[in-house]
Amino acid sequence: QQQVKQSPQSLIVQKGGISIINCAYENTAFDYFPWYQQFPGKGPALLIAIRPDVSEKKEGRFTISFNKSAKQFSLHIMDSQPGDSATYFCAASIKGTYKYIFGTGTRLKVLA
């Protein structure tokens, strides 16, 4: 029940296309859902985050869609660029603890 399931494991997208990464959870105590981007040899960096009282949040080319009833959330990267090639992790925070449960990661490659 503490897991966050992430798919796909890897993704190849053409430059200018839309990258979509999905996550699902079971624990209704989760109250904060961030996405992290990680480049090789670097620590993860916060990309965008959402709370369950909001169905969508957009920051530049990055959008989180959140479906509370289905316990699913997704990251959409519009106009994907080769510089977006990285590993993306979704996560969920347990209410009141600030501890994160991370998904298994999606390795994105954007072809030039």
Binding site: Y32, P34, Y36, G41, K42, G43, P44, A45, L46, A49, R51, F89, S93, Y98, K99, Y100, F102, G103, T104, G105
Partner: protein, 116 residues
């Protein structure tokens, strides 16, 4: 957001020895955490570093193996004790300031540990 410096960035150690990893944050933060990431894998929380008191460990991690200190609001150390090849991993320090509506972590660049 806070900037985290982590040292060393990588090390190769002999089995049976110990390594201490340092994490320095450029400003006071509320909470600090230590994560482990196997190469190409996800992140697993080891423990919450509590200022001035014993760390809080997650299931599967114990203080004797991973002693943690946090003497003040900007510094923490993680020691990997009596290392074995199974401890080869990337160890990441993270920190947050609580109180706002957005409490995303900041991560250090990690320490890549290889045990031979």
């Amino acid at each position: 957001s806070a900037v985290i410096s982590q040292k060393p960035s990588r090390d190769i150690c002999q089995r049976g020895t110990s390594l201490t990893i340092q994490c320095q944050v450029d400003s006071q933060v509320t909470m600090m955490f230590w994560y482990r990431q196997q190469p190409g894998q996800s992140l697993t929380l080891i423990a919450t570093a509590n200022q001035g008191s014993e760390a809080t460990y997650e299931s599967g991690f114990v203080i004797d193996k991973f002693p943690i200190s946090r003497p003040n609001l900007t510094f923490s150390t993680l020691t990997v004790s009596n290392m074995s090849p199974e401890d080869s991993s990337i160890y990441l320090c993270s920190a947050i300031r609580t109180g706002g509506s957005n409490y995303g972590y900041t991560f250090g660049s990690g320490t890549r540990l290889t045990v031979v």
